[in-house]
């Protein structure tokens, strides 16, 4: 499995520059809630590979927007590889994605939210 860096600071900085710190804090909340829902949908639908692909595609894009490189990369692996994966492999990949999401959430709450709020 490819190892991805957790976070790409440059992308996040651009986002802050474009949108402003206040909006980012709000967007991060939206992202975290939304992605959690998507992960639930992924976990419930191992039989439906089309849904898997779609949800993985969406997580890849939105995580990429914030610079969450690991989450985005793992989601892309699922989007591209899900059709060839056995159910066990897919379950493992989704578990890995969820672990990455938890790490990302903790990182974002500990570092980014505060940083954004301080900037306001």
């Amino acid at each position: 499995m490819t190892a991805y860096p957790l976070f790409d600071k440059t992308i996040f900085r651009i986002l802050v520059t474009e949108l402003g710190a206040e909006d980012i804090a709000e967007l991060l909340d939206v992202f975290l809630a939304d992605t959690s829902d998507k992960l639930d949908a992924l976990g419930l639908n191992y039989g439906d590979r089309l849904t898997t692909k779609r949800e993985a595609h969406a997580i890849k894009s939105s995580a990429g927007t914030f610079g969450f490189a690991e989450l985005s990369g793992l989601a892309r692996d699922i989007e591209r590889g899900s059709e060839a994966m056995s159910e066990a492999e897919l379950q493992q990949a989704v578990a890995e994605l969820r672990r990455s999401f938890d790490t990302t959430t903790n990182f974002a709450r500990a570092n980014l939210m505060n940083a954004c709020l301080e900037m306001i």
Binding site: E18, G20, L27, K60, S61, T65
Partner: protein, 415 residues
Amino acid sequence: MSPGAPGTDARGRLLVVDDDLLQRTVIGKIGSKLGFQIIAVSSFEEASRLLRSQSFDGMTLDLSLGEHDGVELLRLIADCRLNALPIVIISGCEERILNSTRRVAEGLALTVADCLPKPLNLARLREALCLPHRVTAEAAAAAAPGIDRGRLALGLARNEFFVEFQPKVELLTGKVVGAEALARWRTPEFGVISPAAFIPMVEGFGLMPELTNVILSSAIAQSRTLIEKHPDLAIAVNVSGSLLSDLMLPERVEGMLRSEGVPARHLIVEVTESVAMSDVDRAIDILVRLRIKGVGAAIDDFGTGYSSLAALARFPFNELKIDGSFVKGCDTDPDMMKIVKGCVGLAKAFKMKVVAEGVENLATLASVREAGCDIGQGHLFAPSLAADRFEAWMGRRSEPAQSLSLGGRPVAVTM
């Protein structure tokens, strides 16, 4: 809400179509900072309802829309005749799909402000949304007036057909190396008739041998004076594939060259292979004999025919002309650039010169140069010109101040 957002919606209404909540929010925030009033929807159904009932000043469209896809929506926009609506197309799909989608949209005569891959480059999105409205090109299909076989034959008998020359420029040096002689038709009652209209009719009515004779003899006769002043010029004449069954053609061409005193190396026949070129062996026979006599042979409109690759392998061509439809898009469309480069590779393998047709701006010129094309032809250099204007244009180019300028174009020219 967002700091700095103008209270007035100075830029008008922006329709954001995206099934992803976060993406929708991000695009909405950028749009609103720019002064748009944002209307964000997440489904094909909502978007189509709004597009039918309300007016918008811009739109962003994510190609993946759950059950439907963005291409269906593009078609709906065309059906609603919203051709002037600037659209930013966004997709997480691979680049080739995004490029093809742009072509679908342009094929529908829609206004594509930009095509953006994901993750979104926000600065580029902002620029695309700031772009002023572009005027969409109206596809003005020239309707042929009431012309039948009798009128065409009369035109040939009355010498209403004539030749104009479009320069061919060596890309490395900017030197004019030749010109394509193009058939033109001026009638007293209809004025100038577009070749796009009359060539298919001439072909259809079986008058191509007569027209080719007129064009060949006229081009050869006029090229003599041109060649006296510019001894390196080669004049190209289109010969329809359907004519390459006339075994007397090489002798007839040789006779015309001899009577005007023009050496054979100053003539190139440009052949568009088509289904009409039915007898391949006979066509090869004719082209080989022309080549032995010293006449050049170019494969024209390369890439658009039915069997271009087979023709390339079997016919004795020494020049390949890449069709303008590939050249025109190659500076912005990576897929077109790949085709242009592929053509160059093929041509070089056969030791042929490569001509890029339809070079209309500097960006295209830079791209075809980069691709390795030898010669360029197109409006950037000059449109087709009557022989005296062509000569004057050549004269101006050879003046020191003009010699390095590739765009030494004459101003008003009647086409």
